[in-house]
């Protein structure tokens, strides 16, 4: 029960800067989820729930596929997506004209430029020494700002305790030198955990290998530090466009535009003050 982030000391060192956390002795840790070998067993979902004592959040059937989880949320920190679609001409082992299943285990991206962390007014969301993004449950006051700020729709507020919750990348396990529960439970090594640099290299190799083997549609998602979120700490190898998996194709952290927003808000405030002064000064004809 005490595995929730609330049990962590509230004032962990903030870790290295936001840009590329992990410049210190402790490398930035992350996930590489290779969906080409995911078999949709949902062991990651179960292991995550078990280890982190995440409460049950609905036992409904969606009726759309084998996915009865639906999506990530306050009490779902790993979510396996199921997509049934016509296989591409030179498909991954299946013949042309047949159907194929895409399965992908989604998770918090632990963005380099994390919108949830930027907008959190209490400082409850923080960057750990592993470069991951974690909610301190004992600080969060449930303002809900992180919820619409996340470009991936990951974090959410729990109805019963009123706080925001999401994947911690098993912060407690990492502290003890263990790998996150989902990666440990994954039977096919679809979920790989390690230093982000190594994972990026490994992922590049895997994409090349798949393409050479005829899977032209293989692509990486979230591995590029030049993208709209400065690169994800948890990135993916996908076999179709991101939106097919429910992922935004080109997410940009909202705070990149914040300076412009402040500027316009400032000008508007000045205009309001100016208008009020003018209306009071200006004599009646």
């Amino acid at each position: 029960m005490s595995a929730a982030p609330g049990s962590l000391p509230p004032s962990q060192p903030a870790g290295p800067g936001d840009r590329d956390p992990g410049g210190s002795a402790q490398p930035r840790m992350g996930f590489f989820t290779d969906t080409s070998v995911c078999i949709g067993c949902k062991a990651c979902e179960v292991a995550c729930k078990e280890w982190n004592a995440v409460p049950e959040d609905g036992l409904l059937l969606t009726g759309m596929s084998y996915d009865n989880t639906g999506g990530l949320g306050a009490s779902t920190w790993r979510h396996v997506a199921f997509i049934e679609q016509p296989a591409p001409a030179a498909g991954s082992g299946t013949g042309a004209g047949s159907l194929r299943w895409l399965m992908s285990s989604d998770v918090c991206k632990h963005c380099t430029e994390a919108a949830c962390l930027d907008v959190c007014p209490t400082g409850a969301l923080m960057r750990t020494e592993f470069g991951t993004v974690v909610v301190q449950d004992d600080v969060c006051n449930g303002c809900g700002y992180c919820v619409p700020a996340c470009p991936f729709g990951v974090i959410d507020r729990r109805e019963d305790d009123g706080g925001a919750h999401k994947c911690t990348l098993c912060y407690d396990r990492l502290g003890d030198g263990m790998m996150p529960a989902c990666a440990k439970a994954c039977p096919t090594q679809s979920i790989q955990f390690g230093p982000l640099d190594e994972l990026r290299e490994r992922a590049q190799g895997r994409v090349t290998q798949l393409r050479e083997a005829g899977t032209a549609e293989a692509r990486l998602y979230g591995q590029d530090p030049g993208d709209g979120i400065g690169g994800a700490g948890a990135f993916f190898l996908l076999l179709d466009q991101p939106e097919v998996y429910g992922l935004p194709p080109d997410p940009v952290v909202t705070t990149r535009d914040l300076p412009r927003m402040w500027r316009h808000a400032g000008i508007a405030a000045a205009a309001l003050a100016g208008a009020a002064m003018a209306t009071a000064r200006w004599r009646r004809p």
């Binding site: 700002y145 919820v147 705070t255 009071a280």
Partner: protein, 315 residues
């Protein structure tokens, strides 16, 4: 426009794909009427404080008093709404645990912490007639912070991944400033006879004009992303707000500082219009978060534009 040689499409897909039509981003968990109500009340309070200070200066004492009291009342209700909206209301003081310019909510919390007491003190001095000097000082402080209270909420909404809010970040602050001015002016016209509320009527007219203009510019520039502002319930709400604003504006001009009943009606219409507009903006955001198309399509088009630019550069 598929060509040989593995070249990719030159034009964006006519259809867009999603994961079983499920939303990509989460809908804001902020509740109605707490948050849209606060958007209205915060604007009303902030603009009323400026109006109070300016009309005091110009010798409209009765109007200044009414505006001070209105500001204090509106900001008190705002505080209640904001605390009530928290998932853990007992921890509202955690808002002042850190100061983060990257979080409009943090900036807003500090603004409110300074503005609220100032507006309250200004109103108390106006009502009791005691400590007029301290009252004027407090009113001046509230007047300086007031415009920020009225417009920071635009940055608050726009600094999210919600397409109808984020993409509107250029127009929203002006829409909110205009709406706040119209509401504050409207309150003054409602509370004080027109001959003694001239600045209120002028501010109301200017605010209503700005509100209408910013709303039109927003809808035009955003194109398809602005659809939630036109369609469905938020669309109806916004149209209602626009009609009320236009009627209030006309009535305010028609009152010509003489007809009490017309001026009061104009004031009431402008205040209602301001509130309705904030609810419309809030609900348009909810609608745009619910539908994955608003999230996916602009991003996919951005990728396509980037790729075709890259191809042209390479060619």
């Amino acid at each position: 426009m598929s060509r040989r040689g593995g070249e990719k499409q030159m034009v964006p897909d006519a259809t867009f794909t999603s994961y079983y039509g499920r939303p990509v981003i989460k809908q804001p968990v902020w509740r109605t009427p707490d948050v849209p109500g606060y958007l209205f009340l915060g604007g009303l309070a902030g603009a009323s404080s400026v109006l109070a200070a300016c009309s005091q200066q110009a010798g409209y004492g009765e109007l200044a008093r009414a505006a001070r009291v209105g500001a204090a009342g509106a900001i008190s209700l705002s505080a209640v709404a904001l605390v009530h909206d928290l998932g853990r209301p007992a921890r509202f003081l955690n808002m002042l645990r850190v100061f983060k310019p990257t979080s409009p909510m943090s900036v807003g919390s500090w603004l409110l912490a300074a503005y609220g007491p100032a507006a309250g003190a200004a109103a108390a001095a106006a009502v009791t007639g005691r400590a007029p000097r301290a009252g004027t000082a407090a009113a001046t402080a509230a007047a300086v912070l007031g415009p920020c209270i009225a417009t920071y909420t635009a940055a608050l909404l726009c600094d999210t991944a919600v397409p109808a809010w984020h993409e509107a970040h250029r127009e929203m602050p002006y829409l909110f400033a205009g709406s706040a001015a119209a509401a504050a002016g409207g309150l003054g016209m409602l509370a004080v006879p027109p001959a003694r509320a001239v600045p209120a009527a002028r501010l109301a007219v200017a605010g209503a004009a700005a509100e209408l203009t910013a709303g039109q510019l927003l809808k035009r520039r955003l194109g398809p992303v602005a659809e939630p502002y036109r369609a469905g319930r938020p669309g109806t709400l916004l149209r209602t707000g626009e009609i009320l604003t236009a009627c209030g504006l006309t009535a305010a001009l028609a009152a010509r500082g003489r007809h009490r009943a017309v001026a009061a009606t104009a004031g009431a219409m402008l205040m209602t219009a301001s509130a309705v507009t904030r609810f419309a903006v809030f609900e348009a955001g909810q609608a745009s978060a619910r539908d994955p198309e608003y999230t996916v399509r602009p991003q996919r088009e951005r990728i396509d534009r980037r790729e075709s630019a890259r191809r042209e550069a390479g060619a």
